[in-house]
């Protein structure tokens, strides 16, 4: 079992304080969801765990199996077992999707034990089938000209192929219709098991009908303000973030709230 631990994390971006002391512990075998209103730091948390150089940690620590990863560059963190399914995946015209995924898998393996191409193609076919992806998507340049929905599927395809210890899914549901949402959820659910943990970031409860979390965290104003089981997500759907804020007696202005 692996453990990802975030301790008192403070993060600024372009001088602005976004995270103000986040604490979170998760283990493989668990699915966690982070919900919260817009502009509350959910994406900042996921980018910081992954190691996006644009985000500056001013205080706190992140441990993967007891090892401080904050000093590690993003590629090392990835090879250590972290994965981030991004909200806006970059388009890379220099490499085909299949070639890229194979490269990413082999970057984790020793030089003398690279994944045989046949095995790779077999795994790739299977994963693409789960995600209802057509074969030609493997041969297209990485994300280039992909629709929003295709990009999201492609993130999950990479997740299924790379098989990280922990996957952070940053608003994987945004821009997906209900059918695509089911497909993407099917992919994530297939990953479930004792060797895999996931942190799912979402605004809406809807995704959590398909990927049922073990733990739900609610984030507001750069902190986690409440934790609970899947029922917490349903409660939020009914009462909204403002209701929870008022219940907790927090003095926070929500970005999308009318003045």
């Amino acid at each position: 079992m692996s453990t990802l631990e975030v301790k008192n994390l403070h993060v600024t971006i372009e001088g602005k304080k976004i995270l103000k002391g986040v604490n979170l512990v998760m283990h493989t075998g668990e699915i966690h969801a982070i919900m919260g209103p817009n502009g509350t730091g959910k994406s900042t948390l996921s980018e910081t765990i992954m190691g996006n150089p644009a985000y500056k940690v001013t205080q706190g620590e992140i441990f993967l199996d007891g090892k401080d990863i904050l000093k590690m560059p993003v590629d090392e963190r990835a090879r250590a077992g972290l994965f981030l399914a991004m909200q806006y995946p970059a388009e890379i015209p220099g490499i085909t999707n299949a070639e890229f995924i194979r490269g990413a898998i082999n970057a984790r393996r020793p030089q003398d034990d690279q994944l045989p191409i046949r095995q790779f193609l077999k795994d790739l076919d299977q994963a693409m089938e789960v995600l209802d992806m057509t074969e030609e998507m493997a041969e297209r340049h990485l994300n280039e000209g992909f629709s929003g929905g295709e990009k999201k599927r492609n993130e999950i395809l990479q997740l299924m192929m790379i098989k990280p210890k922990f996957a952070i899914l940053d608003e994987i549901d945004s821009g997906l219709d209900i059918d695509a949402l089911k497909v993407v959820s099917r992919g994530v659910n297939q990953m479930r098991g004792p060797e895999f943990g996931s942190l799912i970031i979402t605004h809406y409860q809807r995704l959590l009908n398909y990927i049922v979390p073990d733990v739900v965290h609610v984030m507001m104003d750069g902190r986690i303000v409440k934790q609970g089981g899947p029922e917490l997500a349903k409660k939020l759907e009914d009462e909204g973030y403002a209701g929870l804020r008022d219940e907790l007696g927090l003095d926070i202005k929500l970005v999308d709230e009318d003045a």
Binding site: P73, D75, A90, I92, G94, F100
Partner: protein, 430 residues
């Protein structure tokens, strides 16, 4: 005019050793005499004048040992000629070409067996021997080269491949000349590989004249990998008659300082030049590339597409010049030059120039210099790829638009491999 060769002992000695025809030795002397009054040419923002780019060592015959090539990886090809310094090492698949009237031979053979072609075309049409100091020194010093002649209406399906390996194990300058003459309505694909063996500091003067007669189509591709200690003047010139077309695809993967002068003269109406250049500069080298297309004829088309990458403390200059001469009605001149910087210490310069002397034309240009897209790099690295591999992928994507339009699969592959190698080596000095 008779010239007393005794006043030029180096030329006389060389002529005696190589059995050079007198008319050519006299041409050398004429060029040498002209050189006294000529100056170095200027190429926009390329400041190369202080480099050791002039041929100063006296003309000399030097044989090279073919054994030097035992470790050099050469692609195999159906029609191939391999030259090492002044020595022709191997020729394959040329006799079957000869059966079709196609000539492929080295410079010494061309002087002896095809003097009428050399007299008519050598520094006559595409470039003049007394154009400037560099062309005059070139004519005075030429010691190796190639003549390719494709007769009228002859279509060659297989490319002609030439390797020229500069021998820098010896302290000798390298002066190499290529004439590629495509007669009316012929079609030929030619692949040139320039490379260096040895690491003596040397100067190279390489001039390529492509003469495309009416209705001919020449696909010219090059993979240029001259050595780090070689300072090079490389002039490639196209001269196009009516409805002729030249597709230039040049990969500038040299390791030393080089000034490249790539010009196409669209003389005949309806003639068309596509110039594609990929350049990668590494270490501390400077590659200055001056690409010009001049539209003389009506309805001529000149397109320039140059993409380059700069690493370490290197420099790359792309001048793109589209010149439409008065009277070239319906002419089209388009150009795009882009440079990707991988290092803050590298210098890039992309200079578009359009000179338009007629009204009834189309012309356009684009130029940019930018850094590697941080989001692309982050994305690739977030999947576990180390930074250097991620950078190479971003570069591949950047060079893609030029690579993909190169009209030959095998050349594309070869260029891709060469790019990869040059980048891997270049990243080591980062």
């Amino acid at each position: 005019m008779t010239i007393d060769l005794q006043k030029y002992p180096a030329i006389a000695a060389y002529a005696a050793q190589t059995n050079e025809p007198a008319w050519f030795s006299e041409l050398r002397v004429k060029a040498l005499q002209a050189a006294a009054d000529l100056e170095l040419p200027t190429f926009g923002k390329i400041r190369y004048q202080r480099w050791p780019v002039q041929i100063k060592r006296p003309l000399a015959y030097q044989a090279s040992d073919p054994q030097l090539l035992s470790d050099v990886k050469l692609q195999s090809a159906k029609h191939i000629i391999i030259q090492l310094g002044q020595t022709t090492v191997r020729q394959q698949g040329l006799t079957e070409l000869a059966a079709q009237g196609v000539i492929v031979c080295d410079w010494q053979t061309a002087l002896k067996e095809h003097p009428e072609l050399i007299k008519k075309y050598f520094m006559q049409k595409a470039i003049k021997y007394d154009q400037d100091l560099l062309t005059a020194q070139h004519v005075a010093g030429v010691t190796s080269g190639l003549l390719v002649y494709v007769p009228k209406n002859t279509v060659l399906n297989e490319p002609i491949t030439s390797y020229f390996i500069q021998d820098a194990t010896q302290k000798q300058d390298c002066v190499h000349h290529v004439i590629l003459l495509a007669d009316e309505n012929s079609e030929v694909s030619y692949l040139e590989n320039l490379t260096t063996i040895g690491d003596q500091p040397t100067t190279a003067s390489i001039v390529v004249e492509v003469i495309a007669k009416a209705g001919s189509h020449v696909k010219f591709a090059s993979v240029d990998r001259l050595g780090a200690k070689t300072t090079t003047y490389l002039n490639r010139r196209g001269h196009l008659d009516d409805d002729a077309k030249i597709d230039w695809s040049m990969g500038m993967m040299n390791d030393g300082n080089i000034v490249g002068d790539f010009d196409s003269d669209l003389i005949g109406s309806g003639s068309h030049a596509e110039v594609k250049v990929i350049a990668i500069s590494t270490g501390r080298q400077v590659q200055g590339i001056d690409t010009r297309v001049t539209n003389y004829g009506k309805h001529t088309i000149g397109h320039i597409l140059q993409h380059g990458v700069i690493l370490s403390r290197s420099s790359l200059i792309f001048n793109g010049i589209g010149h439409i001469i008065k009277g070239a009605k319906g002419a089209n001149a388009q150009q795009e030059s882009r440079i990707l910087m991988l290092s803050k210490k590298a210098k890039g310069d992309a200079n578009p120039v359009l000179l338009i002397d007629d009204n009834d034309v189309q012309a356009g240009h684009a130029a940019s210099i930018g850094r590697v897209n941080a989001e692309q790099l982050y994305y690739l690295m977030s999947r576990g790829l180390p930074q250097k591999i991620a950078e190479r992928l971003v570069i591949r994507g950047f060079l893609g638009p030029v690579l993909e339009v190169i009209p030959s699969d095998s050349i594309r592959e070869q260029l891709r491999d060469t790019i990869e190698r040059k980048l891997v080596n270049g990243q080591r000095d980062e």
